[in-house]
Amino acid sequence: MTNANAVKIGEIAPNCPTINQENKLPFQADLYKGKVVYLDFWASWCAPCRLSFPKLNKLYKELKSQGVEVIAINLDENRADAEKFLQENPVEFKIVYDDAKQCPKQYALIAMPSSYIIDKQGVIRMIHLGFKAGNEAKIHTDLLALLSE
């Protein structure tokens, strides 16, 4: 399925509209200028997302001091499911709950998980759909390449 509204490589990462009580703006790309952002859309029911989390956490721990920010937007229908998963698989990176499910609409998401790598200028440079074991090596290379720009 393709979507004409889907964000593309080379575009400025869109901001997401106001969503929930705690995070008035769950993802505002402007706030992260100067950092390389790995923006991930996930849900606890999504098997590849679950697989990716420990690996993303390892990447984040390794690269955060160099200026990598990982932001994972949760899209579970029931937030408790996500919280249970995170208790069992704790991660250090930022988790945002999108109760109104506006952000995936903004990005016209077509797969779970979908991740967007955003460079220091706020431009989307890579889009990864899905996650398989071994993908973390490519993500690591991509992040390092953007950090060195």
Binding site: A47, D81, N135
Partner: protein
């Protein structure tokens, strides 16, 4: 009239095709193991286990848990 039930049936079939797509992030309930097209998920998992241990191969069947392993 016997024709009416047929017309209603045909209209409902057409209507099914008009229902909106389920977005990628709305498939949490569909991803539950008991949403698989089988009568007994417990029995199925036991059968799959037996099959994989006897044949030394797995996969090619439906599986619980949504998401896309693509990419």
């Amino acid at each position: 009239m016997r024709l009416y039930p047929i017309i209603i049936l045909m209209l409902s079939i057409v209507n099914i095709a008009c229902t909106p797509k389920v977005a990628a992030w709305e498939r949490g309930i569909l991803a539950k193991p008991h949403m698989l097209l089988q009568s007994n998920s417990l029995e199925n998992s036991v059968r799959q286990h037996m099959h994989s241990s006897k044949e030394a191969s797995a996969g090619g069947r439906n599986a619980g848990g949504g998401g896309c392993g693509c990419g």
